[in-house]
């Protein structure tokens, strides 16, 4: 029983990270219509930058500063590439994000080399463990779950109750009407990228002690995050969270049921492909933001 619990915790820990990436996708997609396939790179950058800053500042400062820097990167990226290219088709923009993710990866490789690094555990170390319902988990797991919960709650509150948040929702629901209402769409778009970059960076810092940080970790996170967003249903942040947890759990159970660990990643991708084929609007997707199927 405790073994199953162990797997479950592992599943929701990873699932939490996928959830954050998925929420990032969702926010950017809703506000701009673009699928940002460089999303996973924000996670990688968050961890990497924090690790480098650790040489000069204590951990909490490093984390906060890393998040700020990566958020800035997100803004710059949007302003450089997407502000002026809105006449391009969505597909073109997505391909550009793919190109960006490759370039970011390569830059990271040259700046930080291919070594695997990690932040130190936020509390305790790799030997500390907490007993929870019979399973032994690292305190870092609680940090991850806590971070995911906080991020999601703050986002929901922000979207529902603040002026800027409501403006973003207006943009996603009806860009033309939002524009007529005086909302600056271009700034909203930059803001959406900034928010998703920030979330990614937080995830990157918090997962670093457990899953390590490596220059090429972004790609598979992007795909799994996308899978999670699709499974939940694009455009709905809470559904993205559900999707993320689901993907994480499926991965964990696939290993538990005897699938060789090497295929673990393939399981997540298989879910993505399956969902796209069978139910593209996801579990909780309502009306599709632009239909998924051709005639």
């Amino acid at each position: 029983m405790s073994e199953i619990l162990q797997y479950i915790f592992s599943g929701i820990t990873n699932g939490g990270i996928y959830a954050i990436v998925a929420v990032g996708f969702s926010v950017v997609y809703s506000t701009t219509g673009v699928l940002n396939l460089a999303q996973g790179e924000f996670v990688m950058l968050g961890g990497m930058v924090a690790i480098s800053l650790l040489n000069v500042v204590p951990l909490p400062v490093a984390v906060v500063a890393a998040v700020a820097i990566v958020t800035l990167c997100g803004c710059i990226l949007e302003m450089l590439f997407f502000r002026h290219l809105r006449s391009h088709s969505i597909l073109h923009l997505i391909i550009i994000t793919i190109g960006l993710s490759i370039v970011i990866q390569e830059v990271a490789l040259h700046v930080w080399d291919e070594k695997v690094r990690s932040l130190p555990y936020f509390t305790g170390d790799e030997c500390s463990s907490i007993k929870l319902a019979g399973a032994a988990i690292s305190p870092q797991v609680l940090w991850v779950l806590g971070a995911v919960a906080v991020v999601v709650v703050v986002l929901q509150v922000f979207l529902k109750y603040t002026l800027v948040g409501r403006a973003m929702r207006a943009c996603s629901a009806n860009p033309d009407a939002a524009m007529l209402a005086g909302i600056n769409i271009r700034n909203m778009r930059t803001f959406a990228f900034a928010v998703s970059a920030a979330m990614g960076a937080i995830a990157g810092c918090v997962i670093s002690p457990i899953s390590m940080t490596q220059y090429d970790m972004g790609a598979s996170l992007t795909i799994k995050g996308f899978a999670a967003a699709i499974v939940g249903g694009l455009g709905n942040p809470m559904a993205a969270v559900a999707g993320g947890l689901l993907v994480g759990l499926v991965e964990a159970f696939s290993v538990m049921s005897g699938l060789p660990a090497a295929y673990k990643d393939a399981a997540a991708f298989a879910i993505l492909v399956l969902v796209l084929f069978v139910r593209p609007r996801g579990l909780f997707g309502t009306r599709d933001a632009g239909s998924v199927r051709e005639c």
Partner: protein
């Protein structure tokens, strides 16, 4: 008229191929031929992808998986010993048919492997079947969903070959034997066959080019272009768009697999990176730079860039180069760089003429 255009193009290219070989011979740089051979086979993938992306207007971010499927199938079938299976009744029949062959392995033992011809055929069939199964549901998806589905598919194949023992895990498959095509022509990596292999590789590539040029200038090519320009109207004109898209997709997958088989025999092996997302994206970048629907442009660009990449001109920035190319082309000239260049020329001559 069309026939003479194609003939002229092909003859010119063939001439260039010969000239390049002679030049390398004279300059004593015959080892360049190895990279040219590899560039040729990779270009076949690009040509097929051109048909899918430039003509049918569908995006595939997982095409490297088909190349790898062809290569790995050939590699595994020609390096695994089937002595157990060969002993059975069915096995004996296959042996009689020439499907199984006996050969000596590196250590003097006896191996019963699959004949390269049979392995090639099986690789084609397997890839066609998988492409059909994936394409059938995937091509019904719109733009970015199709992109993600193909990317996901490519990653699945990559993970499978990377993680499976029968595929050699991260080391891939090595020891793939030479393939005796006909007396005097052996597909293998040894230097004594290099010039012959060069002509074989380029012969096959030019043949594929001719087939595709014929295809795009025909009823089928027009049907694909009409699907790209207006799928609804194409449907209204009686074109079964789903079937055409699928046919183009499967055809290009089989081409990629064929290239994979041939290159694997030449290299004597294959590794998991051939199936990776980086490769898939690289193919897309090459199609884009060549000018989406420009087969000749795709061939030239692909050959040049792949050659440079293989010779290490991009150093450690190899992947980054293709990433930057992709961003630059899609941002500035999504239909390919040649059209703005051609338009500039036109404007220039018109102005000059007054």
């Amino acid at each position: 008229m069309h026939k003479s255009r194609t003939t002229l193009t092909v003859i010119s290219l063939a001439a260039i191929v010969v000239v390049v070989q002679l030049l390398t011979h004279c300059a004593g740089k015959e080892y360049y031929l190895t990279q040219m051979i590899m560039a040729a086979y990779y270009s076949i993938v690009v040509l097929g992808l051109c048909l899918v992306m430039g003509y049918a207007g569908q995006i595939s971010l997982g095409h490297a998986a088909f190349f790898a499927m062809g290569g790995y199938t050939s590699a595994i079938l020609t390096t695994t010993s089937f002595s157990a299976a060969a002993g059975t009744g069915a096995g004996r029949i296959l042996r009689g048919l020439g499907v199984f062959v006996e050969r000596a392995d590196l250590y003097g033992g006896q191996l019963v492997t699959v004949n390269p011809w049979a392995a090639f055929l099986m690789a084609m069939l397997l890839t066609a079947a998988v492409a059909f199964l994936i394409g059938y549901p995937a091509l019904r998806l719109k733009g970015h969903y199709l992109a993600m589905a193909t990317l996901g598919f490519g990653l699945i194949v990559y993970r499978i070959v990377l993680g499976s023992e029968f595929a050699g895990s991260s080391d891939g498959v090595t020891g793939v034997p030479e393939w005796r095509i006909c007396p005097g022509l052996v597909l293998g990596g040894s230097t004594e066959y290099r010039v012959a292999n060069y002509y074989l590789a380029w012969g096959v590539t030019l043949l594929v080019l001719v087939l595709l040029l014929n295809l795009v200038r025909s009823r089928v090519g027009r049907a694909l272009r009409s699907i790209h320009d207006g799928e609804l109207a194409a449907n209204a004109m009686g074109i079964n768009t789903a079937r055409f898209k699928l046919q183009a997709f499967v055809f290009s997958a089989v081409l990629a697999a064929a290239a994979g088989c041939l290159l694997t025999h030449y290299n004597g092996g294959i590794g998991p990176s051939e199936a990776g997302a980086m490769k898939s994206i690289r193919y897309v970048a090459l199609v884009a730079v060549g000018g989406m629907d420009n087969l000749l442009g795709g061939l030239v660009v692909s050959t040049v860039l792949t050659f440079l990449s293989l010779r290490g001109y991009f150093g450690t920035y190899d992947h980054a180069v293709f990433g930057v190319i992709l961003i630059a082309i899609i941002s500035l000239a999504p239909e390919g760089p040649l059209k703005p260049v051609a338009a500039w020329f036109k404007g220039f001559t018109v102005r000059k003429g007054g």
